[in-house]
Structures are given as structure tokens and as C-alpha cells.
């Protein structure tokens, strides 16, 4: 382990990164700089006092205790941990992008606005939507924006009673949490025997109070909702709208579009489908696309263009807009990366990415099916869910499988999600992983299944090879220690 940076600090050690201030300036400034003593800070904040070299070594050593896509296979279901191309990073760092102030005159940022305008169009085309806002900062933020648009639409029709949001029991936790944030109530749909939405359940759930159905397609089991058009008909006939959670878009690019399936609103996860890095938790970007009739409700501002060839501008004059969901225009540098990715891939490349993502998932499913149970029949799309419940009688759980994988040098899949599968292992290989990597992972999973029979204890103790072993999360939550302190 690495000592906390505060314990490395030596009082009085200090690097300086700024030139000292011009004495002429200091004298002249005196007229206006009085800071009343009660506003001046007495006790300096306890920040580390270290040389640049020591700081760099500290963080470099920390980085070495971390898995990333660049170091390990990361088959986290629903997270789309594909390779993050390096050109994207360099493009976002160009001074002409990184060095722009958001309130610069529009004439001085035409390149940035052009990029955003084109990205709006490309995303709209990929999802089959008529208009796109790039403002939301993450997928969940996009969900929130999308639901607010739906609520604003219902209210514009005088439908104030539409406050129920229907979600399948296999949905991401963000869906019901978003509904609550938008002031809605959640209605949960039980999945049918095939793992998809049960149409009868849906018919019973909809009504005059339905605001929306939130759905991923393919769903979190990696299964395509075949009856999607009928579902759309049921919801629309009841007066509700359809919301597409874009977390699983990587399965269908160029094959099918949410807009053609009857969805009215979608969000995109640029940090999943469009190859921008996850950053250890963020930043991402969660643009929202809508059908034409919802366009007036998009957040302000929207990037528009004066005619076909004219200048680009930020349109704030939108009286029916839901307002703002954050300051400025979105996580711009993430947008730059996603745009570079789309330009590199092109229409055929994006389709090939989805094709390969589905091929990889089905291949891995075929390789793993002999060792773990497959709760629902395939083919799967970009991800699949297995159950480790057959290992349970040997006292081995999905968590043990996950932890043991670390010893084999793999990041584990998502575990215990979706909630409807017992001992769930949710695996999404993505298209950028080679057959060799998939084979090595399959062999590790098979070896673990064997170990469960022969030596279950070794699995309970796993991982053995990591900087720390299993951590006491219960104690962490019971007596939270959330910051470093000088004593204790």
C-alpha cells in the first residue's frame, strides 16, 4: 500500500510554479485590495507540502494499483469497456478545443460549434431521432433530461396526471432513481419467462396516468425485445411515450434504430458506445435525442446554423424549453472525442463494431455455457448474463468467481445484476477484444468452475495477488472514515 499523501508531507517543503509578483503592481494595487481581517483565512488548509517529484511518484504508484482498459480485459456488463483510441485524447487536448472560454464571441468558436452541430446530426442519424441536445454530462443526467422533456410535453397537452414511469425489473437502477428525481412514480414490470417484457403485464400497467416506459433494447440480459413495435403501440395508445436508455446501443448500430422502434426519446452514453474513456468514474457525456414533436422542449441552448452554409450559433430563444440541466453546453472535450471516433469509424465501421461486439459476446457465451448456467436462451446481443447458482451447493458464489478472476489477471464481470437472475454474472466483452483474449478469459472461467469443486476455500480467500485482499465494506459503512486525519 501507499502511504496517504498527507503523511509524506514535510512542513516547509514547497515548490513554486508562479513568477513572483511585480513590485510596481503591488504598490499600485494597494488602493483596491483591502481584505478585511475577518475575511482572511487564519489556518491554512492542510494540503501536502512536497516536491513535484514526490507528488508525481505518489500518483504514479497509485496508478500502478489500478486496472484500466489499457492494462486488462474489462468485461463489465452494461459498461461497454471498449478500447479508447489515443487520437481522441490528443484531439480533445488541441489548444483550439481545450483553450476555449464558453462565453467567447460565437464568431471565434465556429469550429467548436460546427463540431457540436455535426455531432448532433450524426447521433440523431444513428438513433433515428430528429433533434439532439449535447448538454447532459452523463447517462443518468441524460435520463433526467429526457424524462423532464416527456413531462413537459404531457403538461403542454394539459395531461398533468401522467406521472407514472414504467420500468422492467431488469432495468438499470438509474431508471427508477431518475423517475423519482423527475417527480414521478415508478411502476415495475415483471419480466416474462424468456427474459423480455411480458406484453400482458405491460397492457395491465399502462393507463391514463402513464408518463413513459423506460427501456433498454437489447435489455440488460443482452436480449433483444422482439415485440418492441407492439410495446410501442400499447404505450402510445395509452397516451404515454417511450424512453430509450442508450446504455446498450453498442449492440445495434447500423442494424436498428430506437427511432424506428417507436422510441420518442433516447440518451447516448458517449463513454460507452462512442469510445470515450470512463476516467475512473467520469467524466462521461449523455446527449439526448428526441423526435421532432419534442424538439421545442430540449434544454437551452441548442446549436443551430443559419441556413445550409451559414454560421453556427447557440439558440437560447426557446420558450418551451425545460431550461438548463447544467452550466454551459455539455462535457465538450468528451464530445470532441466521440466526434473523432465517429469520423474514424464511418457508417460501415460503426456497423462492423456492433457486429463484432455481438459476435464476441456470442462466442464467449458458447465457450462459457458448459460451466455456468444460461438462464435465458440466446442469441444474445452485445452482452449476456450467466448464473453461478450451480456453484452455490459447493459454497461458492458469484462474488467468489469475480474475486478469483482477479488472480487470473482479468477484471470481473458485473455481478448480482440484473436483479432478476440469481448469482448473476453479466459479461460484455466489447468488439475491441481479440479471440486470444476471449479464449484466455474463457479458460480462466472454466478453471474457476473446476476449482469450485476441488478447492472452494481458495475461492473464498481470493484474490491472493492484489495489493489488498477483500475489504470490509460493512465496517466501512457502519463507521464511515471519509477523510484523512492527523490522529487515528
Amino acid at each position: 500500500m501507499e502511504k496517504p499523501i498527507f503523511e509524506k508531507s514535510v512542513a516547509g517543503r514547497q515548490e513554486s510554479y508562479l513568477p513572483s509578483i511585480d513590485p510596481l503592481l503591488e504598490g499600485e494595487a494597494a488602493k483596491f485590495t483591502l481584505l478585511p481581517p475577518d475575511l482572511e483565512r487564519k489556518d491554512p488548509p492542510l494540503l501536502p507540502q512536497l516536491t513535484e517529484g514526490e507528488v508525481v511518484r505518489h500518483y504514479t504508484r497509485l496508478s500502478q494499483m489500478n486496472y484500466g482498459v489499457d492494462t486488462h480485459f474489462y468485461p463489465l456488463g452494461s459498461c461497454t469497456m471498449k478500447y479508447n483510441p489515443k487520437i481522441n485524447e490528443d484531439a480533445a487536448d488541441l489548444p483550439g478545443f481545450a483553450g476555449l472560454h464558453p462565453y467567447q464571441p460565437e464568431e471565434t468558436v465556429q469550429g467548436a460549434l460546427a463540431l457540436m452541430y455535426k455531432l448532433q446530426q450524426y447521433l440523431g442519424e444513428i438513433a433515428g431521432m430528429d433533434a439532439v441536445s449535447l448538454q447532459p454530462a452523463a447517462g443518468a443526467h441524460g435520463e433526467f433530461t429526457g424524462l423532464l422533456i416527456i413531462m413537459a410535453y404531457h403538461e403542454s397537452k394539459g395531461q398533468h396526471a401522467r406521472r407514472k414511469v414504467i420500468v422492467p425489473d431488469s432495468s438499470h437502477g438509474t431508471n427508477p432513481a431518475t423517475a423519482a428525481m423527475a417527480g414521478c412514480e415508478t411502476v415495475q414490470l415483471r419480466s416474462g419467462r424468456t427474459g423480455t417484457v411480458d406484453l400482458e403485464e405491460l397492457r395491465r400497467a399502462v393507463g391514463h396516468d402513464t408518463a413513459a416506459l423506460m427501456l433498454t433494447n437489447p435489455n440488460t440480459l443482452g436480449l433483444f425485445e422482439k415485440d418492441i413495435l407492439e410495446m410501442a403501440r400499447i404505450v402510445h395508445q395509452a397516451g404515454g411515450l417511450l424512453y430509450y436508455d442508450g446504455a446498450n446501443m453498442n449492440a445495434i448500430m447500423g442494424y436498428a434504430r430506437p427511432g424506428d422502434m417507436g422510441f420518442d426519446v433516447v440518451h447516448f452514453n458517449l463513454h460507452k458506445t462512442f469510445s470515450t474513456p470512463h476516467g475512473g468514474g467520469g467524466p462521461g457525456a449523455g446527449p439526448v435525442g428526441v423526435k421532432g414533436f419534442l424538439e421545442p422542449f430540449l434544454p437551452v441552448p441548442v446549436i443551430r446554423r443559419d441556413g445550409e452554409e451559414g454560421r453556427f450559433f447557440l439558440d437560447y430563444d426557446r420558450p418551451r424549453s425545460i431550461g438548463r440541466v447544467k452550466a454551459f453546453y455539455g462535457n465538450f472535450s468528451v464530445l470532441v472525442k466521440a466526434y473523432a471516433y465517429i469520423m474514424r469509424m464511418g457508417k460501415e465501421g460503426l456497423k462492423a463494431a456492433s457486429e463484432c461486439a455481438v459476435l464476441n459476446a456470442n462466442y464467449l457465451l458458447a465457450r462459457l455455457a458448459p460451466y455456468y448456467q444460461q438462464p435465458f436462451p440466446g442469441p444474445c446481443k452485445h452482452e449476456f448474463v450467466l448464473s453461478a447458482k450451480s456453484l452455490k451447493q459447493k459454497g461458492v458464489r458469484a462474488l467468489d468467481v469475480a474475486k478469483r478472476l482477479l488472480d487470473y489477471g482479468f477484471h470481473p464481470p458485473t455481478v448480482y445484476f440484473p436483479l432478476i437472475v440469481e448469482e448473476a454474472l453479466m459479461i460484455e466483452p466489447t468488439e475491441t477484444e481479440s479471440k486470444e483474449t476471449l479464449d484466455a478469459f474463457a479458460e480462466a472461467m472454466a478453471a474457476i468452475a473446476r476449482e469450485a469443486g476441488e478447492n472452494p476455500e481458495a475461492l473464498h480467500e481470493a484474490p491472493h495477488s492484489t495489493p489488498v485482499t477483500r475489504l470490509d465494506e460493512t465496517e466501512a459503512a457502519r463507521k464511515p472514515v471519509l477523510r484523512w486525519k492527523t490522529t487515528g
Binding site: P4, Y17, I21, L24, L25, E28, L35, L39, E40, P45, L47, E52, V55, T60, S63, Q64, N66, G68, D70, H72, M81, L94, G96, H101, I126, A137, E143, A177, A179, K226, M253, G254, Y255, G279, G280, G281, G282, G323, K326, A327, Y329, G330, F332, S333, A340, M343, K347, E355, V358, L359, N362, T432, T469, L471, E475, A477, P480, V481, R483, W484
Partner: protein, 453 residues
């Protein structure tokens, strides 16, 4: 070959045999024909990496960036000096290509870095606990207001009109749907009106949002405001500029119950408005109401210290519709950038940044007010931003400054109709005396119709 895709044709065929399918097309049979895309996406053809690079450079060059002009524009996005080492740490792929640290055994790096970040935010703000970031300053304020309403079970949020206008707009979007009410407190002499605040406070007020320094750059008498807020049983939410907190007293010490803000000023690039860093810190009694990821310290089964995501019972993946917030992805890498910045600067370095912002702003105020017709209308102390009143139209001034290679301040009439003829200027440690003198010379020429530079 398609970029980034690994398989040879022979491998694809071998994989299909293992699956038991004749073609990849067979794997898509579950997508019904009536929703299949017939003619393909109407997108451009893919480009080679070189072509993409040239295209990106070309787009970037259609913009004017901060290296090409001298900027006096702030208003929520600031140019501060980022030590070169920060970017090198952020370029560590183990950090930037990692996911949220759900598997702590292989995520101790980001977990410890975030734990240290939380500590630094607590130290700066004088609070007890911080989360590992939300989207930006605007959403941090909105989340704080929601927390205050939950904690007090009251329905009204008072907000100073001198909170960033876009933060106020974001708050509206977040709060009105939840049945909460927002009332604005007017200002006088560049500060939130204490009298108006006292008049507005009452038993229905959950929280009061004050920005400090406020949008006009003035430093608010936070302790005085805190007393009034607490006397009414309400909570004080202080939206603060973290780079000021080496020099200015911490909001915690001055009585804030929740401290939030925009962390971009800790050396993050302006990047046309994002990604930035929303930080949130609270006193002990509010810890379990904080939204977002929180890192805690614990021990492993061999007794070694380590870090985990904790208090997850507040979060969407556990609590679903009962969660404190729907946030999943946050701004972790921006939080890391802020932490590395603070570690490099240290307490003295941060104080020096603050001192230079304040002195250089003072110098600019002094020099600008030598120009006939230019005045500083408010008397409150400032940090790195201040308002000047001019005889000329701000639009015209900014146009003329731009011709001289200077990005002028914010024309305040954009957000405050009552402040037409007023400009909000920003002077950080980045500006030299020569830069400021150049601003003054270019400005001097405007009134009499000639430009002297």
C-alpha cells in the same frame, strides 16, 4: 480492416463454428425485419487516422484559443495556471481508462486518490465530509438545495440573485419538479441584500444559497448571512471558488452547512465549458444525505488498510427509486486533476495564487479607473473579478478590445438588465502587469475614437 477491430476472416469463421452459426447475420435474427435498418446509416465513410487528425486540427484552428488572446473574461470559467505535471498524471492510462471502482482490490489507486481528494475538499471548505464529485458547480448547487429541503422538510429555497445565472437556471430545472419553490434575494452595492434576506426568511425556508465571491466578484460577509439564516432554522449553502480558499476564510468556519462549487478553477482547462468538477462538502450530521460516490477507509481480511466505495445504500444501483440521487458516472478524472493540482501547489502555493489574483485585480481596477468615464460602482472587497461601469457600450468596448487581441469581460446586461453599461472583468494570476497595461491602453483609445497600442 475496420479500425480497432481484431479478428481475421479465418478467426471469425472459427468463432462462428463454435457458436454454431453460419454467419454473423444469424446472430441478429432476433431483430425483427420491420425494425431493421434497410439502407444503412447516412453517415460519412470512415477516414484514416491521418485524415481524422487533419480534420480535427482544421476544426480546432477555426477557433481562437486562450493562447492567441489575452483574456479578462471569467464568469464561471477561469484561466488559472496548471502545473505541467498534472497532465502527465492524468495521462496514466490506469487512471483514465478505468471504470468506477466497483472492484476495490484492483482499484486502490483511484480509490485512494479520491479519498485524498475528499480530504483536500474538506480542508479547503472547512467541512467534515465530501463526496467524490458531481457534474459541475451548477448541479452541485441544485443537489445541495435538494439535500437542504430533505433535511429540514421545508419547501422553499432562497437564492441570492448574485449566484451564477446559469446555476440559478439549473436549480430551477432540478427543484421545481420536486414541488419546491425558489425565491430570489435581490442585491445592493454588489452584495446580497441582508435586509431582503432577513425579510424573506421564515419557517418554510429550507436553505439559502449564497455564492462567495459572488457573481459580481464581491466577497460576501458570509458569517453575518449565516447568523441570519440559522436564526430562522434554515441551512446555509455556500457556493465557493476553491482557488480562493487559500486566502479567504473557509465557508465551514464562517457558518455554512453545505459547501459546494465549481472546481474548474483548480487548474482545469476551460474546454468550452466542460468537463468541469462539481464538489460538495457537508458537516457531519448531513453525511448520509450526500448524493454520489463516497470513498471510505477500511481494512482487508489481513488487517491492511484500504479504500472502498461506501455508504452505497444511498445510491441508485442499490436503492433504485429511493436513492438520494440518480447519479452514476461522476467527474472522477477532473477530481483527480484537482487533487494533483492541490498536492503540487501546497498551502503556500494556493495562497500565492489567491494573493496574485487579488493584487492583480486591484491593480487593474486602479489603472482602469484612471480612464475618464470608467468607475468601480461597488465598494465591497473583491478576489479575482470586479465590475466596472463605462460610458461606452460594453459591446463596443469588447469589440474594440478584440481588435487589439484582448478578450474583454462579460457584458452584464446579458444576465442583469439592471446592469447595462457594466462589465464583469476577471484578472487571475495568469495576467502580467504588461497584460493589464495593454488592456488599459487599448481601452483608453475607445472613448476618444482612437486606439493607442
Amino acid at each position: 480492416m475496420v479500425p480497432y477491430l481484431p479478428h481475421t476472416q479465418a478467426q471469425i469463421e472459427e468463432m462462428l463454428r463454435t457458436i454454431g452459426a453460419d454467419s454473423t447475420e444469424e446472430l441478429f435474427v432476433d431483430i425483427p425485419a420491420n425494425v431493421r435498418l434497410k439502407d444503412g446509416l447516412r453517415l460519412p465513410e470512415g477516414l484514416s487516422e491521418k485524415e481524422v487528425w487533419d480534420h480535427m486540427v482544421e476544426l480546432a484552428e477555426k477557433n481562437c484559443h486562450s493562447g492567441q488572446y489575452v483574456s479578462f473574461l471569467g464568469a464561471g470559467s477561469y484561466q488559472h495556471y496548471q502545473p505541467r505535471a498534472v497532465k502527465h498524471i492524468l495521462s496514466r492510462a490506469e487512471f483514465y481508462t478505468a471504470y468506477t471502482p466497483y472492484q476495490p482490490e484492483v482499484s486502490q489507486g483511484i480509490l485512494q486518490a479520491m479519498f485524498e481528494y475528499q480530504t483536500m475538499i474538506c480542508e479547503l471548505t472547512g467541512m467534515d465530509a465530501a463526496n467524490a464529485s458531481v457534474y459541475d458547480g451548477a448541479t452541485a448547487v441544485a443537489d445541495a438545495a435538494l439535500m437542504a429541503a430533505e433535511a429540514t422538510r421545508r419547501k422553499v429555497i432562497l437564492v441570492s440573485r448574485l449566484l451564477h445565472p446559469e446555476y440559478r437556471q439549473t436549480m430551477r430545472t432540478y427543484l421545481l419538479r420536486r414541488g419546491l419553490e425558489i425565491r430570489e434575494i435581490p442585491w445592493e452595492d454588489g452584495l446580497t441584500s441582508l435586509q431582503a434576506l432577513e425579510d424573506a426568511l421564515g419557517g418554510d425556508v429550507a436553505g439559502v444559497v449564497i455564492q462567495n465571491p459572488n457573481f459580481l466578484g464581491s466577497i460576501e460577509p458570509l458569517a453575518l448571512l449565516a447568523d441570519a439564516v440559522h436564526a430562522a432554522g434554515s441551512l446555509l449553502i455556500a457556493c465557493v471558488d476553491p482557488v480562493s480558499l487559500g486566502l479567504i476564510e473557509s465557508p465551514g468556519k464562517l457558518g455554512a452547512d453545505i459547501a459546494v462549487g465549481e472546481g474548474q478553477s483548480l487548474g482545469l482547462p476551460m474546454s468550452f465549458g466542460g468537463p468541469y468538477l462539481g464538489f460538495m462538502a457537508v458537516k457531519e450530521n448531513m453525511v448520509r444525505r450526500l448524493p454520489g460516490r463516497i470513498i471510505g477507509k477500511t481494512k482487508d481480511n489481513k488487517g491492511r488498510e484500504g479504500y472502498v466505495l461506501t455508504l452505497q445504500a444511498r445510491e441508485q444501483h442499490i436503492r433504485r427509486e429511493k436513492a438520494a440521487s440518480n447519479i452514476c458516472s461522476n467527474q472522477a478524472l477532473c477530481a483527480l486533476a484537482a487533487a494533483v493540482y492541490l498536492a503540487l501547489m501546497g498551502p503556500e502555493g494556493l495562497r500565492e495564487v489567491g494573493r496574485q489574483c487579488r493584487l492583480k485585480s486591484g491593480y487593474a481596477m486602479s489603472r482602469l479607473t484612471e480612464i475618464p468615464g470608467v468607475t468601480v460602482p461597488f465598494s465591497a472587497p473583491v478576489f479575482k473579478e470586479f465590475v466596472v461601469r463605462t460610458r461606452e457600450e460594453p459591446k463596443e468596448i469588447n469589440r474594440r478590445l478584440w481588435q487589439a487581441g484582448i478578450l474583454g469581460g462579460l457584458d452584464l446586461s446579458r444576465f442583469y438588465p439592471e446592469l447595462s453599461g457594466h462589465i464583469l472583468l476577471c484578472v487571475t494570476e495568469m495576467r502580467t502587469r504588461q497584460d493589464i497595461d495593454r488592456l488599459v491602453r487599448a481601452w483608453e483609445g475607445i472613448g476618444d475614437g482612437k486606439t493607442n497600442f
